[in-house]
């Protein structure tokens, strides 16, 4: 299970920054800073909660995909 360290969190925030900025546009000017802070808090709490506990490995993934594509055909 991958564990996120501090620098990876920073990297994640850097990648999400444009999306956060864009989402701020839907609220009024005086609420934007509040909203930004709230969103960042939520991201951090979600990371702490470890939302993705089960990420499959490569061969596991191939197996899963093979089964699902077989069922489809």
């Amino acid at each position: 299970m991958p564990i996120i360290n501090q620098s990876e969190i920073e990297e994640l925030f850097r990648m999400l920054e444009p999306k956060i900025k864009k989402s701020l546009l839907q609220t009024s000017q005086q609420n934007r800073q509040d909203l930004e802070q709230d969103i960042k808090v939520i991201i951090l709490t979600k990371i702490r909660q470890n939302v993705f506990k089960d990420v499959p490995g490569f061969f596991e993934f191939i197996g899963q995909e093979a089964i699902s594509s077989e069922n489809m055909s």
């Binding site: 991958p2 994640l12 999400l16 839907q26 609220t27 609420n31 061969f59 995909e65 093979a66 077989e70």
Partner: protein, 229 residues
């Protein structure tokens, strides 16, 4: 039933299913291979010229495609193909885990941010609507509202009212004045608003000066008493 044609290392891969048996046909400029396999477990080679480099890549799988866009991963995988060892397998697994994890995390947060922003925005809007700052909304059991209490220090507006109450800003004082008699109000109005002498007021009201003075004192003490409550 031909499924896919896609390009990996300039190798064309065709895959098709026939009676639940998958046939895979690789070709590039130098080599041609034909495989068939069943249940993803056993793979048989029908015709082979040269070295086998690739295995089944499932059709249209973006995750795998993107994963193999990194030449390091391709190299690792080719190494594993020619020399399958537990160590290499674990390395591929962990690389893929890292990659897949980051993809999932990013996808999740891109959606989550959108919805959270919407939720929070709605919340603040609701709150503001519930707690509006209405200036002309009257206070409970009076006719005075917030806007009446805002003093404007920049302008000196002449109030041309003949009622004493209209010169008062404080709701408490306003209420106290309303409890005075008509005569008391009139005397106070003439003294404090019109700035007249007691003698002049006595003349206007056609009463004695002493009477005016007494009325004024009574009225003020009454106001004081009411205001202190």
């Amino acid at each position: 039933m031909v499924y896919i044609i896609f390009l990996i290392n300039r190798t064309y891969v065709f895959e098709f299913l026939f009676r639940r048996i998958a046939f895979i046909f690789f070709t590039n400029n130098e080599h041609m291979f034909l495989f068939f396999y069943q249940n993803n477990e056993h793979m048989f080679c029908i015709g082979l010229i040269g070295e086998v480099k690739l295995i089944v890549f499932k059709q249209k799988n973006l995750i795998l495609k993107k994963f193999f866009e990194d030449p390091k991963n391709v190299e690792l995988y080719e190494l594993y193909q020619s020399n399958p060892s537990q160590e290499l397998k674990e390395k591929i697994d962990s690389n893929f885990r890292k990659y897949y994890f980051s993809v999932r995390l990013l996808a999740y947060f891109l959606k989550a941010i959108h919805y959270e922003a919407m939720n929070l925005d709605q919340k603040t809007r609701k709150y503001q609507q519930a707690n509006q700052l209405v200036l002309n909304k009257e206070f409970d059991d009076t006719e005075v509202s917030m806007i009446d209490l805002i003093g404007d220090t920049n302008t000196e507006t002449e109030i041309s009212s003949i009622y004493l109450e209209d010169y008062v800003c404080d709701p408490k004082l306003y209420k106290a004045i309303q409890n005075l008699s008509e005569k008391q109000k009139k005397v106070l109005y003439l003294i404090f608003v019109k700035d007249l002498q007691l003698s002049e007021i006595a003349q206007i009201l056609n009463v004695s000066i002493q009477n005016v003075s007494k009325t004024k004192n009574v009225a003020i003490s009454k106001l004081k008493k009411e205001f202190a409550e």
